[in-house]
Symmetry: C2
Subunit: 280 residues, 2 copies
Amino acid sequence: MIVTIVGLGLMGGSAAIDLKKRGLASHIIGVDHDSINANAAMHIGFVDELLELDDAVKKAELVILAIPVDAALRVLPKILDKVDKQVVTDMCSTKGKLLEWVKYHPKRKQYVAAHPMAGTEFSGPWAAISNLFDGKAVIMCDTEDSDIRALALVKRMFETLNMRVIYMNGANHDVHAAYISHISHISSFALALTVLDKEKNEKHIFDLASGGFDSTVRLAKSSADMWAPIFEQNKENVITVLNTYISKLKEFRKHIENDEPEKIRQLIQDSNRIKRVLFK
Amino acid sequence: MIVTIVGLGLMGGSAAIDLKKRGLASHIIGVDHDSINANAAMHIGFVDELLELDDAVKKAELVILAIPVDAALRVLPKILDKVDKQVVTDMCSTKGKLLEWVKYHPKRKQYVAAHPMAGTEFSGPWAAISNLFDGKAVIMCDTEDSDIRALALVKRMFETLNMRVIYMNGANHDVHAAYISHISHISSFALALTVLDKEKNEKHIFDLASGGFDSTVRLAKSSADMWAPIFEQNKENVITVLNTYISKLKEFRKHIENDEPEKIRQLIQDSNRIKRVLFK
């Protein structure tokens, strides 16, 4: 099958590698408006050919959109305008606005909204790796608006990436993504800003980072181009969870200020319950 | 050399494993007031003998204190009361109060204050692993108050654990530890509390955790017995950095509320500078 991947970064590139290696894609066409990324993808070798969007869509059987959510709002309708029998899917981290955007597009049925819950803190074609998606969950949204053939193909594609398929409506997806993934990123960005602000001695940051800071701040290496539009598009849910997060931090602050070790201990023990959940 | 380790959890146990394996310790005596931990340490095999504190100190050449910081305030003076020629060190995450506590102890010179910047989110003797300390930094504090022989022995011990030795005074240590390590833990505990609070569907947490949540929340599995006393003892520094952290989160919230994607992008790009620091 000929697969077109629009956006040759971490997500698109990693998908390209495994779809080819595992035999679902016989030929991969890459599209990227950034010529450095496009050429890197050819050089690294995970795309077979670079084309402009129109030709790339025309030649493909499956089109995978792997670009930031703000760009996706512009590009997805353009792709749907061009499709004949092609199936289109995406990898965006917010779904509500995108789904609303194409709700009445005449080719809506050929599009399957998806969010593979995988990634690393790195970005660009150089960050693409094999096995990125293995064992992780992919959320497919509002699948009742996609036709059966499109759904089957996209499902097969994600199963080739060894992902577990979960179904959710777009609005629910955005709530849960904010509550779990988006807040983790803000927490980590703010932590990096705090440490850079307070700790003027960068050597100390490096030396003391193994005290847990390194894992907590890992996500703060994530791309601004990808994350700023996510927070913008998922504004309401992100604000809701951010309010709760700030209030939890204030609880810690209050109990530390008031010398209440038993209450601090209780907060920590309550937070330890996350172990049980993540082991499931 | 006979080494006594007081506190047979993650830190003490991991030290025991490598000090024996790498030949610095010929015989390891374990002390733990919790008989389950003590027996587990014998059963796992990283201690050769269990003794009460007094006998364990008497028989040893080097005593390593690896217990929570509140307990250390009680136990360190007791150990120093018993020492003859023994050298004593500790692994506590706050140093100011402990150093003040024993400042005028007649055996102060035989004690070397140390904080190995290593760990995992797990605790107890079952969490002890080889190579935990390799390549990490150990901070030795107020070393001018320790005698040369004690310092040389403790340095040799941490070098056997393959650690880089850094010197800092106790007050500075507590500032930097709060700015980097302690805030990371609060950030992670509060994140776990937030997600457990907002996301009632635990299955969703599990499914969506690979979106970055898992690494950011890792530290929220850490022990309350260890961390509550740390925040208590390092109260002022922790409050200072917590205030900055909350204000950074509020900046994110403001820009998201006001639909200012360029300002969000700028905050993220500023936070990305942490990459450069951690690569050093």
